[in-house]
Symmetry: C2
């Protein structure tokens, strides 16, 4: 359903949620402010919620995003995506195999995959993915189960060989965003830089600005 150019635009400023990083503020408020500021895609990432609470939150977030036309992806959980009517999933190398996820979700949903190496990116070229996330570009404290940092050079090599749109994740902020796009990424995936920002709307708008160069 999504053509490559549409996906390249969708992953321009990609928000990955993290409730603890919202610093006690309502997750839906942070997300809607971020979207007003220019966020183009939202991934709901939850590791500790019960399935029931996860589905309920996904439904509320989907309703929040609907008026803005911003799609919602679910991290890992295909069941939560299906039950909530989300627009797709983001899967990592330890999550469901792409072929299973695609079979369960159908051809119209968006599926992205994290790649942590050139080898992962080569394998991803054989899959009918919507995008890949090069992870992590830099090391961060947000996610501690990641592989070694790719750096701008690793990201650039992945972007040059990938037939899929590429979003950079890990250490994406006002300082790094322009370099990451210059290195070949179509966009950046941000966690703490938006979730913990005093003003998630302004923080998002600034990130969009620095990527324009």
């Amino acid at each position: 359903m999504y053509d490559k150019q549409t996906v390249r635009e969708l992953i321009r400023l990609y928000l990955v949620t993290d409730r603890p990083l919202a610093l006690g503020r309502d997750l839906e408020w942070v997300v809607s402010e971020a979207v007003k500021g220019g966020v183009t895609l939202v991934q709901l990432r939850e590791k500790d919620l019960s399935t029931k609470a996860f589905v309920e939150l996904a439904r509320r977030l989907k309703a929040t995003l609907e008026p803005y036309g911003v799609p919602l992806l679910i991290n890992d959980r295909v069941d939560v995506a299906l039950a909530s009517g989300a627009d797709g999933v983001h899967i990592g190398q330890s999550d469901m195999e792409y072929a299973d996820a695609r079979r369960l979700l159908g051809p119209d949903k968006l599926i992205g995959l994290s790649v942590e190496s050139i080898d992962d990116a080569v394998r991803a070229n054989s899959l009918d993915l919507d995008y890949i996330a090069a992870s992590p570009v830099y090391l961060t404290s947000t996610k501690t189960d990641t592989a070694a940092a790719l750096g701008l050079e690793g990201l650039g090599r992945i972007a040059s060989i990938s037939r899929h749109p590429v979003v950079g994740i890990g250490g994406m902020n006002l300082t790094t965003a322009a370099d990451v796009v210059a290195a070949g990424a179509d966009g950046i995936a941000v966690v703490s830089g938006i979730m913990s920002a005093d003003d998630p709307c302004k923080a998002s708008a600034r990130l969009i600005d620095v990527m324009r160069g």
Copy 2:
């Protein structure tokens, strides 16, 4: 697909897996021994595996059970059930809502629900479930997130008002099995009594024996 009488027979001796309780032995070995001893239904319960490893294990277990004609249910995870070709799911009060699970799995899969009170059992009567699990009949060290123990009296009241087949869970062993069936349960769901048994085959056969009375 499953008529009530078939389900009553399937939940006669219901094994719920727990890898740590297998004491280092291969889960598939324990399960296949248990099935040789008379286990009639298996629920794969995993809380710490990655989605990828969970699906792979479910597929292997499904292949192990296939020759015995014993169905495999997955605890909580509808996505894992769908990807692995399992026969259904068991959901708790904090898992996916029954209506969502049924919609995603379709009418032919088996869906069971844990009930922890008479009120839960009354609500379950309005759902097109295959069975309910009265949980916990007795308190155990296997599962520490449970409600207060129902006791034989609570179990009996649930069995008397439920329109669904009822399996008792929590503290099911050679001492309690006969009383639980006498109180109105169609069968027992066992965790440590089989998973940790020196001889899971013999342990299962004995449980079947004591339920015959």
